[in-house]
Amino acid sequence: MGKLKKKGQAGQAKNYMTRTQAVKKLQLSLPDFRKLCIWKGIYPREPRNRKKVSKSSTASTTFYYTKDIQYLLHEPLLQKFREQKTLEKKISRALGRGDVGDAARLERNAARPDQTGKPRYTLNHVVRERYPTFIDAVRDLDDCLSMLFLFANLPSTSAVPAKMIARCERLCLEFQHYLIKSHSLRKSFLSIKGIYYQANIQGEDVLWLVPYKFNQRVVGDIDFRIMGTFIEFYMTLLSFVNYRLYTSIGLKYPPKFDQTMDDQAAELAAISLEGANLATAGETKAITNGEEQKIDPKVQAQVNKLVKQLRNEANGEKPDEQMGEDGEDDEEKATDALDKFEPVAPGGDVLLQPSYSGNDPSQLFSKFTFFLSRETPRQSLEFILRAFGCKRIGWDPILGEGSFTTDESDPSITHQIVDRPVVQAAMDEEEGDGEDNQTSRKLGPNQRYPGRIYVQPQWVWDSVNDEELKSPELYAPGAALPPHLSPFVKPTQGQYDPTIPLEEQQTEGEALDAEIEEAMEDGDEEAGEESEVENDMDVASDNDDEDEEEGSDGAEDEEEEEEDEDEDEALERQRELEAEISGKAVKSKQLDAKTKANLDKKKALEKKKKEEAEDLERAKGMLSKKKRKLFEQMQYTNNKKSAEDVKLRSKRRKLDKEKAAKKA
């Protein structure tokens, strides 16, 4: 017989230790331990069996892996913590003695990262240890970026020193510059929490959240010391990542930072990139606006022409666009199109088509000049437009320094992004003056510069996410915007997808239910409004006309469906007419016949469902306890999800019906 094993000497009991034990072993205070854990990425673990791990009767909350703690024992930062501790002790002792001068001297020597933002230690080695390769670091950049962008937008307080905020802001700007330069921004999403961005850096997807540019409300009990500890690490990490990213595309790091520009809220323009060597220096300048302004007027004219043509082409596809809003403008465009299409058509098409169809999504906006009205979020728009190839962005001088132009009447502007409501009353008059207003004098409300596309900001985001320019009339100022959909949702089987028509995704049972319900409602209505049948008919015919009109626009499938429906409707109308002649009873009977079939179908479906449930029950009884639990759990989550989907579908159905009713 082997040696008897004692309890708590090996295995899980030795593999884990409680936090108190860890702190004791490291001889640290709890805040220092917390700091160390945050920087070194040490986290508590859930042991497989809590009882085997803890010797105490009380349930300990946190367990750390013993080897993690052992690893911390060799951390050079520990020495720094201890030095700091002794220094604090000396200071307090000096103060106790009443020796203020000595205390002040010691205090001066002490590094106070919470005040100056500069500690005596560096976290370089920690970054390297946590992320042995660069890709590892990129993979873990999500939280880092979200935190830094948040802190860049925080107000400075005693807990969050201004220097820290400035540094965060600068790092973020540098990172954005890299994204712009390398065109690695992929997607962006306007959520209620802020703006999500997704970039692809060396094959890794990085997703982060940037708050809207408002003063952040600090609610609840938030310990900024903890956040500050994280930020300290994240700042170090991002500065190294930035260095690597910049050097990877041949740029010098750190880039030149213009303090005066930054003070004037130039944001991105405050940083100017430089090439790592002289050869690339000139080329890299292209990011800023300065170079663009020196552009040869001829080339500019050419570009403008092309852009105009391009836009006209876009307009050509949808001839009826903007008819309601500014017809005059359209007329001008139409004539332009006529003039220009004939000579340039073959060559121009070949040249323009690929960029337009989105061969290279990173150059989506490269041909346009944007102007941002003062009510638009400039920072995010500037970033996203630049990241997708736009070179010339002007904005209202209120929005800060660094714009391509602050003159709204600049003729090179092709797109203007506005986010203000349309004033209805002034419309008609202003349109008449449209042509006179081509000069640079200020336009009144609602007036438009001709030859320019006015869109709401969402147009930019939707275009970026779909990697194609969306048709601007959907996003015209004052128009009801189409829903803004998250580009991060991956469609899965059975899940509700708002982009697909309801008919394609609803289950059989739901469809039947809906039909029956509809039939019942119709029946009720018709029973109630016997006399209005004729009116109803008129309405119906109107409906048909409209449908036909729409049909020319829409896909052929829809048309077919509608035709089918039309036929059905025609048949029904026939029946109704007959019913009118013969009397009530017949009609109700006929109505019943249709619903009856549906009801039968439903009954069959229910029966089938019941059988299936029985089968399931039988099979479930044969499972072992463990498997049954697992199965039930899976079933529970699945049911929950599908219930949500069903709810969404029913809501959609209701909305569709309401919409149809409104149309009718």
Partner: protein, 774 residues
């Protein structure tokens, strides 16, 4: 007016008369002197004398008296009042001139001429102030030279001693009334009231002396010039000595450079070279420099080597990407309805499934800041460093793949599916059902104490007997052979054997049955005798139940010690076992019909016996206690096996007709299939009921069916095929759940029995019915 002037006149006269009287005194004395004083310039000594006179008489007296005198004297006869007043005016003018003159005279010489005691002239010099540098070393030498002798020696003499020149020092005039009067009137400055012992003059003190006295009284140094805190004079420290104090030669070390100092200097030099010591800079400059050089940029991953990930490392899960509902302008169907919104608002923020409500803003400029963002980030931070991480393998599989593939029930037909007949008649629970071996009649026993026999297919009651008025009939069982038609039933502690009348029972069959029951009565006497001789209470008393019951067809009554709950017959029909769970040692009894003998096989039982059964082909006896099923060999009389189903409380067992398999139903809702050859543990555990299982039963007629009856009012029919090949496992498929019985007082279906040949079964329910399922 006149009166006034008169008064004035009189006054003036008075004044003049006073002054005259004074003057008379004076005149009387100093007549000649006054004459002499007429020409001041010529007779200076006389003037001096006059002055001396006045001075000696009243030393400090003011000069006004003298001047009065002078004025009066200068005008010999003050004839008129007006003249007098004139004179007074003159008087007033004069004093300004006269003292000046005398002072000027005094300054010229440092002595005075006085009259000595003998009346001779005497030069008295001014007192010399004995300052430090005066060369008069014995200024205040004693004037009287008599030495230290008592002054009383001179009392009888006019002098009091001799001066340095040998002249007598005259005793000063004393007791002069006028002088003493004057002395009392005014005390001159420096007056002490004492007499100088040496001179005999009144001892007056000068200002200096008074000051000195004051200082002594105050405890200060007597001399004003003494500085109590003089500056120290450093004689030896700051003054360079011209001469050495020690004559020792200079040591060598004074001339050699110090090694220790060199060491210290080198240390500093090294520190400076290494940059540990920096030249002083003002703190602002230092700070600025630190700021400038703080950021060090280099490629941290210059020599990166991909490392295999630590298997124990659990990376933090990323936050899920935002969905459609988080959009600032989501599709309408994602917006919450009014109820949903209310519910969301009502729930505690901690318990909300989503921390936000989908909201639609029809324009980007209307989107406000998200108030919870900082908190959310903070919580994420807390999660990153504080949340215990555990690796969970998410099963990304279709849950249906977990389910076993069961053959469709339609392939496994026949099995009972619907209730064909319902047997109503019992009041209260039907406790037990049994179908006779021919499959024609059904016997039921109920809580009302009756045993009823029904025609199985029609559901018609053909026979009934009330065995007990107060005890329920717990069990009814047919004798399992077709040669006789014998029914056994138990009510309370009594077991009854009866031959019911039935249409299918021919008189011959009836007779055989009666014979079989009656055959044992001869043995019974023997048995009883034996029991009596042993002096023990018999295990069972076999007797006739009485004429009334005998007329009904109940022929034998066996009384045992406690309530019988279970009866199980041996396949040959000669033995049957009864179980009475409360009976303790005698709870299991085996009765022999042919001998009317009751035996108790166990002296001791492990646990409370629940049920017992005979093996269908071998001489093996199964006894189920609450937890285990024990198998005994009846021939060798030994324990073969203990089957452990793992159930907490076994309710019933049944043995497969093949004899190798056993099903166990338990009150803890499980149905367990045991393969007796395989293991003591269950081969399969099935859980189909949410309530206890009361009865389990195999089909005994060759069909692969078994069923259980549960308190939830349902029966579960299984297809259970035992293959002939020993190596194959039995296949168990649930085929049908039969619902129909109502649950009364949480009791559903109590008993179940299969038809001997057909795939039919009968169940007994707590709702007072029995049902035939086919």
């Amino acid at each position: 007016m006149k009166a006034k002037t008169v008064e004035k006149k009189r006054k003036a006269r008075d004044d003049s008369s006073d002054s005259e009287s004074d003057d008379e005194l004076g005149n009387g004395l100093f007549d000649g002197v006054l004459d002499a004083s007429e020409d001041e310039g010529d007779y200076i000594p006389s003037d001096e004398i006059e002055e001396d006179e006045s001075g000696s008489e009243n030393d400090g007296s003011d000069g006004s008296d003298e001047e009065d005198d002078d004025a009066l004297l200068s005008d010999d006869i003050p004839s008129d009042n007006e003249d007098l007043s004139k004179m007074e005016d003159l008087e007033i003018a004069e004093p300004g001139v006269d003292p000046k003159r005398t002072e000027a005279d005094d300054e010229g010489r440092n002595y005075r001429i006085e009259k000595d005691a003998n009346g001779g002239e005497r030069y008295v010099y001014d007192e010399i102030d004995p300052v430090y540098d005066s060369d008069d070393s014995d200024a205040q030498g004693p004037v009287n030279t008599i030495g230290n002798i008592p002054m009383s020696f001179y009392d009888s003499y006019p002098h009091i001693g001799y001066d340095i020149n040998g002249k007598k020092i005259m005793r000063p005039a004393s007791g002069d009334a006028l002088q003493s009067l004057l002395d009392t009137i005014e005390i001159p400055k420096g007056w002490t009231g004492l007499t100088d012992v040496n001179t005999g003059n009144p001892l007056n003190l000068t200002d200096e002396e008074l000051e000195l006295v004051r200082r002594v009284q105050m405890g200060l140094a007597p001399d004003d010039l003494v500085d109590p805190y003089p500056d120290t004079v450093e004689w030896f420290t700051s003054k360079e000595e011209k001469m050495p104090l020690s004559a020792a030669p200079e040591p060598k070390r004074r001339f050699l450079p110090s090694k220790n100092e060199a060491k210290m200097v080198m240390k500093l030099v090294r520190a400076i070279r290494e940059g540990r010591i920096l030249p002083y800079k003002p703190p602002e400059e230092r700070e600025r420099e630190a700021e400038e050089q703080e950021e060090v940029h280099f490629d941290l991953w210059q020599d990166e080597e991909p490392q295999a990930p630590n298997p124990m490392h659990i990376p933090a899960p990323k936050l899920p990407p935002p969905g459609y509902e988080m959009s600032y302008n989501p599709p309408e169907e994602y917006l919450p309805s009014k109820e949903e919104r209310e519910e969301w608002e009502k729930t505690d923020p901690e318990e909300r499934e989503k921390e936000y409500l989908p909201t639609k803003y029809n324009s980007l400029r209307k989107v406000p800041a998200w108030g919870e963002l900082v908190k959310e980030r903070f919580e994420r931070c807390m999660d990153l460093y504080l949340a215990p991480r555990v690796r969970k393998n998410r099963l990304n599989i279709d849950p249906n793949s977990l389910l076993p593939k069961l053959p469709s029930p339609s392939e496994l037909k026949p099995f009972p599916t619907v209730a064909q007949t319902i047997f109503r008649g019992h009041e209260g629970t039907v406790r037990s059902v049994s179908i006779d071996p021919t499959g024609v009649a059904l016997a039921t026993g109920g809580s009302d104490g009756t045993v009823r026999v029904w025609e199985l297919l029609t559901g018609r009651q053909v026979w009934s007997v009330k065995l007990s008025s107060d005890e329920p009939v717990h069990i009814v069982r047919w004798r399992p052979t077709k040669d006789a038609f014998i029914l056994s039933a138990a009510a309370g502690e009594d077991i009854y054997l009866m031959v019911p009348t039935h249409s299918s029972v021919t008189p011959g069959l009836d007779q055989t049955s009666r014979d079989i029951l009656a055959a044992g009565f001869g043995y019974a006497a023997n048995g009883q005798q034996a029991a009596i001789t042993a002096g023990k209470e018999p295990a069972g008393k076999w007797a006739r139940p009485g004429t009334k019951l005998e007329d009904e067809g109940v022929l034998v009554k066996i009384t045992v010690r406690s309530t019988v709950k279970v009866i199980n017959w041996h396949r040959r029909g000669d033995h049957f076992a009864t179980v009475s769970p409360e009976g303790q040692r005698s709870s299991v009894a085996i009765h022999t019909l042919s001998k009317h003998l009751t035996q108790i096989p166990f002296r001791k039982l492990h646990g409370i016996a629940q049920t017992a059964a005979f093996h269908p082909s071998k001489p093996i006896f199964f006894v189920a206690t609450m937890r285990t099923v024990r198998c005994y060999d009846l021939q060798k009389l030994e324990l073969i096996k203990i089957v452990q189903p793992g159930a907490k409380w076994i309710s019933s067992i049944d043995i497969h007709p093949g004899g190798d398999n056993l099903i166990v139903g338990s009150y803890d809702r499980r149905l367990l299939w045991h393969d007796l050859d395989l293991s003591n543990r269950p081969y399969k555990t099935m859980r189909f009921h949410p309530k206890a299982i009361r009865a389990v039963r195999y089909h005994k007629g060759g069909l692969p069916l078994f069923a259980d009856a549960s308190d939830d009012g349902t029966l579960q029919i299984f297809h259970g095929k035992v293959p002939n090949d020993q190596l194959e496992n039995p296949t168990i498929v649930p085929v049908k759940q039969l619902k129909g019985h109502k649950v009364v007082n949480q009791v559903g279906v109590v008993d179940i029995d299969w038809h001997p040949r057909e795939p039919w079964c009968v169940s007994a329910g707590a709702d007072g019915t029995a049902r035939l399922w086919m």
